[in-house]
């Protein structure tokens, strides 16, 4: 008699548990109206927040002060992805850890090529494309070209467009809102980059094309308007970056090549002997000789790298070592994409001023 009632107790409990879980899961989903966006890197999350606004909840996997090449896949990342409606990644061979967690998450919506998968690098023209078939002896070469695309604000506009297309595919009912947000973001980038005057005169698209072809500054320096050279009308980041335009720098890794293209920095060499290979004594000795011969004043190092070799080089040559976050949230106070670019420009100006 006692046994029968105990068995009955367990059966009823199990039934109730099952019922509750079905109701519970349905309940949760029924009330979720916002789009869950997960990005591999913080900069994509920041841009996605501008495009989606209040309609999206964004999150990112890699930390801002973490090497994006080497992220340990963790179960919590896969859990993040099971609930994601949209997943944004560079789409080249930077985040080699992404396929593992996508597989683990088993979320059909965000498999590569699916509706909820955004490749941020689509339609972006890449630099540093390898001229020969790369093999391991050349170091950790990225086969498609340099994947650190977010370091150029002009690329940020194209990344935003790719995210826009993804959002519209995933939630077409809000397309109009996303379009407006996108236009506003592009406008903000243009005005932050060139300043209001030139954007009003020529429009952001024309100015961006000229930066990509390397002709903007010389154009502004030669053409006149209203009795003044156009260069005096340049505002925004490009104007703030004029003090270091044309200057030589040393970099730790090939992180900054798109930034250098836009802002006219000349990267002479890298502390890594080959991409992804830690600095060796022989190569660092050559780097020191180069710095002295070419009078390089500033060395740019992403803040996730080891500090020992840059500090030693700085101590030997007097070069100013600048440790900056490669990505959003890589430092406190750097919370948006705009904060990031501001941070880089301010710190570079500071370094060049200190180095005399």
């Amino acid at each position: 008699m006692r046994y029968k009632s105990l068995k009955g107790f367990w059966l009823v409990s199990l039934y109730l548990l099952l019922l509750l879980s079905i109701i519970g899961s349905g309940y949760g989903q029924h009330h979720r109206t916002d789009i869950s966006v997960v990005a591999s890197l913080p900069c994509y999350a920041s841009i996605a927040k501008y495009i989606g606004g209040d309609l999206v909840i964004v999150d990112h996997i890699a930390a801002g002060n973490q090497d994006p090449h080497f992220v340990q896949p963790k179960p919590s990342y896969a859990r993040m992805l099971t609930r994601a409606d949209l997943f944004i990644t560079t789409g080249l061979d930077l985040e080699l850890w992404v396929p593992t967690i996508i597989d683990k998450a088993r979320n059909k919506k965000i498999f590569e090529g699916a509706v909820g998968y955004v490749s941020a690098a689509t339609d972006i023209s890449l630099v540093d494309k390898p001229l020969v078939n790369p093999d391991r002896s050349m170091g950790d070469v990225h086969v498609y070209g340099n994947p650190h695309i977010h370091t150029s604000p002009l690329n940020a506009k194209l990344i935003a467009e790719n995210i826009l297309i993804g959002l519209k595919k995933v939630s077409p009912e809000n397309s109009a809102i996303y379009d407006d947000n996108y236009k506003e973001f592009v406008n903000q980038i243009d005005r932050s980059m060139f300043g209001d005057e030139l954007v009003d005169m020529f429009g952001g698209e024309v100015l961006s094309k000229m930066v990509m072809s390397g002709t903007l500054i010389s154009f502004l320096q030669t053409k006149e308007y209203g009795g003044e050279k156009l260069i005096s009308k340049l505002g925004g980041w490009l104007s703030k970056g004029m003090p270091f335009r044309g200057k030589k720098v040393m970099c730790y890794h090939k992180n900054w090549n798109y930034f250098a293209r836009d802002f006219g920095l000349e990267i002479i060499d890298y502390i890594e002997p080959k991409p992804g290979i830690p600095p060796t004594a022989k190569h660092v000795k050559e780097v020191i000789e180069e710095i002295e011969k070419q009078d390089i004043r500033v060395m740019i190092v992403a803040n996730y790298f080891e500090r020992n070799s840059p500090k030693m080089i700085a101590e030997r040559t007097g070069i100013k070592d600048v440790f900056i976050p490669l990505d959003v949230a890589g430092e406190s106070d750097v919370n948006t994409y705009f904060d990031l670019i501001n941070c880089w420009i301010d710190r570079l100006n500071e370094a060049f001023k200190l180095s005399g």
Binding site: Q66, D67, A281, H283, Y304, E306, N308, K311, M312
Partner: protein, 285 residues
Amino acid sequence: MSEILIFMLPPFVACIAILSIHAYLGIHVLEREIIFVDLALAQIAALGTTVGFLLGIHVEDSLSFVFSFGFVFFGAAIFALTRMRHQTIPQEAIIGIVYAVATAGAILVADRAPGGAEHIKEILMGSILWITWPTILKIMVVYFLVAGFHWALRKKFLIITEDYEQAVLEQGLRVKLWDFLFYISFGIVIVMSVRVAGIMLVFSFLVVPAAVSMIFSKKWLTKLMIGWVVGLFASILGLYTSYALDFPSGPTIVCFLGISLVLAGFIKTVWIRKNRVVSSASLKV
């Protein structure tokens, strides 16, 4: 060639500084027959810097040294307190367990921090190649002070190392205090060295020169001299090879120290054989 020498001079001087005091401490350590205490304390020091690293304190900051030393302080206390005359658990077991737990702890802590894996690698391998003169000066001052401390109290430290039983009978519980002071001073040296040279090189500089010297002599001063010579050659060969072949310097020097021990054993065996032949030959006559 001279440029290479100038380039490698700071790492070389750093090696000599670390070797000087480690060879001496190593003779103590081998005499006490508790080899792993260095490895365990070095790992505890590394755990300290890793916890600091997680909290955003870079390894170069003085605060990192405080963290590191704080952990070593506790480790030293544990080791001194558990060195009993009659051991339920052998002290080697305690030291080994502390080493394993400290290593695991450091890995777990580093796992939470971005770039943690690189930090663990650096703690293990060291960064002696990138050392700068200000850092060398810092460690030399600390070593000098510790060496002075040990010279002033050399008799006490000698007694508790060489004849623990005698010391306990004569001085009772105060042996624990001297033991503690020994481990503290030892810990300070380890904390300074690990930040620069990494755990493997610190351990090897401690144990190998002293071990080689034990093969050839029983007198303290002779052993110290032999240890310094062995360490000097291993450092020179190690640094040069690491430069020529693009290897990390720390592990390369460790390999050369290992080779020197094998060579020493070989030389000793040949020398004994030669002596035996000579003496048996003289007997026949």
